[in-house]
């Protein structure tokens, strides 16, 4: 391996853009691995503190931004309604929401720090040209708690990159950090792959903000077994976890389990990677779910879909071939958001079984038993309406109606992994702790690869962005302090 060649300057608009990476004779103050919201918040915060900053982003320019490209809002604490928020969201309700979804498994000190420091997150972003809008249609349940980015996450990262360039932050695309070297208990340099080969990049301080390992099927297979081969990856294909692995190999203490991931039920026909929000499929509560043997396996009407789709990701992961079918009839169609692909359809149940390749006799038996068990009631999709079945081994508790009005439709669903929880352990200065619990000098972490400190299971919409923004800013500030005092 050569010692740090200066990468040739190539700058073409909308093309691959790899600027010169600083050399050993002139190491940058703060080096940031990653190119999403947490990385950019760290880079901006360090640059604004006066540090020279270099970003190493694994993706090419078009796909920069990690999973932040796919986000649409940020959860943040605020004391009253604002121009974009319909009501207040104070520390206690915020913390209670977090306790509820994590089952209490959180580091209260870090969690409260994160919540408190989220208060000026939106103002901070706005001051850096990030634009917001009121909650999107169909997301009113988030209108008191989450601020929506105008245009979504890619517009967010575009604004932050523009700001970073204005401040002179250097950005090298297609440059993935996969090795990390320590020197006397402190950070020394990283090793990264580029289109022109391997490089070593030293710096006075390093912020790891390169996301989780949800796009690394081999790593997922280690944790999940062969089922992981059939997982779809909803986000960036560049979230390989190599930077996280490099930190673990360099002695960083970890938090969370490798088999914990956020996986939701999504349309099985979307591309393997990067289908983001449009992979969603919302029909489940308004019909029944069957596996490839035509059998039901869980209560489809347990709760509202946004509260249950993550459970369904895991449920389908445990079905044969990690596939299941949401079966509805014509009268259910207007009840949910349109999905990106049209459903499979047939005029008879047997025909539909044929379409999805499920044994027709078994399928019709399941449907027949379900239809016979539906109790009378008035369906109301806006509430837990109590329209239920009675007498089935697996009941359906709400929104149960006979599936009897042709044409019949099927949406094939598969587990779609959104993010992983395994991370490195940090403290309130975003400094990374080593296995012996000492602090690694000059080594900081932000975003998904440390979110397990606060959110080690469960999910709270827009909270990943809260963690990324708050700890990105802390990491950038502390890294700059470490580098330039």
């Amino acid at each position: 391996m050569q010692p740090v060649p200066a990468v040739t300057v190539r700058r073409q608009q909308n093309q691959r853009e790899t600027r010169g990476v600083n050399t050993a004779s002139n190491p940058c103050d703060v080096l940031v691995a990653g190119g999403g919201n947490a990385a950019l918040c760290a880079a901006l915060s360090a640059a604004e503190a006066g540090a020279q900053v270099q970003i190493l982003e694994a993706a090419p320019r078009h796909f920069r931004g990690g999973n932040s490209r796919h986000v649409r809002n940020i959860r943040y604490m605020h004391k009253g309604p604002t121009d974009i928020m319909t009501g207040p969201y104070e520390e206690e309700p915020f913390f209670e929401d977090l306790l509820r979804v994590t089952g209490g498994k959180t580091d209260e000190k870090l969690a409260r720090l994160c919540i408190q420091q989220s208060e000026d997150a939106v103002d901070w972003m706005r001051a850096r040209d990030v634009r917001f809008q009121p909650a999107l249609g169909g997301t009113l349940q988030l209108s008191e708690t989450n601020a929506f980015f105008l245009g979504g996450g890619k517009a967010l990262v575009n604004a932050l990159y523009a700001r970073a360039e204005m401040l002179g932050v250097q950005v090298a695309y297609e440059t993935e950090v996969h090795g990390l070297s320590m020197d006397g208990g402190g950070f020394s340099h990283v090793t990264a792959s580029t289109p022109d080969g391997e490089i070593e990049v030293p710096a006075k301080a390093f912020v790891a903000a390169a996301g989780g390992f949800e796009a690394n099927i081999d790593w997922l297979t280690e944790a999940w077994g062969p089922a992981a081969k059939n997982f779809l990856v909803r986000g960036s294909p560049y979230n390989t976890g190599l930077t996280l692995r490099a930190m673990m190999d360099a002695g960083a203490a970890t938090i969370g389990d490798a088999d914990q991931c956020h996986a939701v039920a999504i349309d099985a026909r979307v591309p393997k990677f990067d289908a983001g929000i449009v992979s969603r499929s919302d029909s489940v509560p308004f019909g029944i779910m069957v596996n490839k043997h035509g059998q039901r396996f869980y209560d489809e009407g347990e709760d509202f879909w946004p509260k249950r789709y993550a459970i369904w990701g895991r449920l389908i992961a445990h079905q044969p071939d990690q596939i299941a079918y949401s079966i509805i009839d014509a009268k259910a169609v207007p009840l949910f958001m349109p999905s990106v692909y049209a459903p499979l359809q047939a005029d008879t149940l047997a025909g539909l079984a044929n379409e999805i390749g499920v044994d027709a006799a078994s399928f019709e038996a399941t449907l027949g038993a379900y239809n016979a068990a539906v109790q009378p009631g008035q369906l109301d999709s806006a509430v837990l309406d109590g329209c239920r079945t009675q007498g089935l081994e697996i009941e359906k508790s709400n929104w149960a109606r006979p599936i009897d009005t042709p044409p019949f439709y099927a949406y094939p669903l598969a587990p779609g992994i959104t993010f992983t929880y395994l991370g490195v352990r940090i403290d309130e200065t975003a400094a990374v702790h080593l296995k012996d619990d000492s602090v690694a000098a000059g080594l900081f972490a932000a975003g998904e690869l440390m979110s397990g400190n606060i959110l080690s299971q469960g999910y709270l919409a827009g909270f990943g962005m809260t963690i990324g923004t708050v700890f990105g800013r802390i990491a950038g500030r502390e890294a700059a302090r470490h580098a330039i005092g």
């Binding site: 169909g138 523009a162 449009v278 692909y341």
Partner: protein, 366 residues
């Protein structure tokens, strides 16, 4: 919704594919009216797509914000496919039908028509006048008529004006005639408001992404200059017509008369606006653009610019010997502009206004 008869099915298919992806995402609903209109639908008929395409103001906010933009395999590029669909609309709705083909060569057409009309006016001027008149200095009321006879000028203007108004009106009515929401006065008033403010070029606040990724209000302001300049110059012509026909006051008018003030302000606004828009066009990011529409866009901008420049030149030198030639050239350019209006970029205003009326009507209904 408008009929999509005569519109290329492949373009409609691609627009439909993209809208189905967008409708499952909806992140862009804050940018403009297209996405809220899209969200009123689960399926997209050909007419729906024609309507949505003409509702699009090409601000490009959605392109740069899109996580599915090329090279992503979903290849979502709404500004481009809608621009292509708009070009198709302009051709499909052109009247009379056989002239629709002119849209495909509208840039060239604009220049050819300009040259032809210029030549015609000049030749007539020369044929009908001896050199002493054409190159002489004329001042006072009726001075222009000394060069180009009143009957000829009025005849050409009336014929062109009536024809163009008819062609534009037929397109407008046909666009609105299909099945759709009931159109009341409120919807029309709302659409007029949307046109006068160009709020759909505001990108939900920060402006549009033109000529490149950076947000800017510049294009909206330049468009305002051109649009209000055009209105002002058009008003000048109308006032002058009233002066001439009903008050018996013949041009040229005093520098501080209403027609001259309106015309001058409009001309200056259009010169600045057109020059600015041309400059932006040079710097335009080609990726979200529909390249085949370029000649049509350039042709229209050039005609507007030349109309303004020759009008201002005529004003400046109307008391000199150059007046005769300048008048002939200006009238030639104006004629060229007018007869190409129904077959060039100008019609974007007609169909977008119609689409905004439909949008206001259907959002009211919701």
């Amino acid at each position: 919704m408008p009929s999509a008869e005569g519109i290329n099915g492949a373009v409609l298919e691609e627009a439909r594919r993209q809208m189905e992806v967008c409708n499952a995402c909806r992140y862009c609903e804050g940018y403009c009216s297209v996405f809220p209109a899209m969200e009123l639908r689960r399926e997209f008929s050909d007419g729906d797509l024609t309507y949505l395409a003409n509702l699009c103001h090409n601000c490009r906010g959605c392109y740069y914000a899109c996580q599915f933009a090329p090279p992503h395999e979903f290849a979502i590029n709404v500004p481009q496919v809608f621009a292509e669909l708009r070009s198709e609309t302009y051709a499909a709705y052109a009247w009379p039908g056989p002239l629709a083909g002119l849209f495909r060569r509208a840039g060239t057409l604009a220049l050819l028509a300009l040259a032809g009309a210029l030549a015609l006016v000049l030749v007539l001027a020369v044929l009908l006048q001896d050199a002493g008149v054409l190159y002489g200095t004329h001042t006072g009321a009726g001075a222009f008529y000394a060069v180009i006879p009143k009957d000829l000028m009025v005849g050409l203007a009336s014929a062109a004006g009536i024809y163009v108004a008819l062609a534009l009106l037929i397109g407008f009515v046909r666009f609105l005639r299909g099945s759709g929401p009931e159109i009341g006065a409120g919807a029309v008033a709302g659409a007029v408001h949307d046109v006068l403010t160009m709020k759909n070029l505001a990108g939900g606040g920060p402006g549009c992404n033109f000529p490149g990724e950076t947000f800017s209000g510049m294009r909206r302001w330049l468009h305002h200059l051109v649009m209000y300049g055009f209105f002002s110059a058009f008003a000048a012509t109308c006032v002058a017509t009233i002066y001439d026909h009903f008050l018996g006051l013949e041009a040229p008018y005093d520098y501080f008369s209403l027609p001259v003030i309106l015309g001058t302000l409009g001309g200056i606004a259009m010169v600045i606006g057109c020059a600015g828009l041309m400059r932006q066009k040079f710097a335009e990011d080609p990726d979200p653009a529909h390249k085949a529409a370029r000649p049509m866009e350039w042709g229209f901008l050039w005609l507007l610019l030349l109309t303004s420049l020759t009008g201002l030149a005529l004003l400046a030198f109307r008391e000199t010997a150059a007046m005769g030639i300048l008048l002939a050239v200006h009238l030639g350019v104006v004629l060229a502009l007018f007869i190409t209006l129904p077959y060039g970029k100008f019609v974007h205003g007609i169909y977008r206004f119609a689409a905004l009326i439909l949008y206001r009507a259907e959002s009211r209904k919701e």
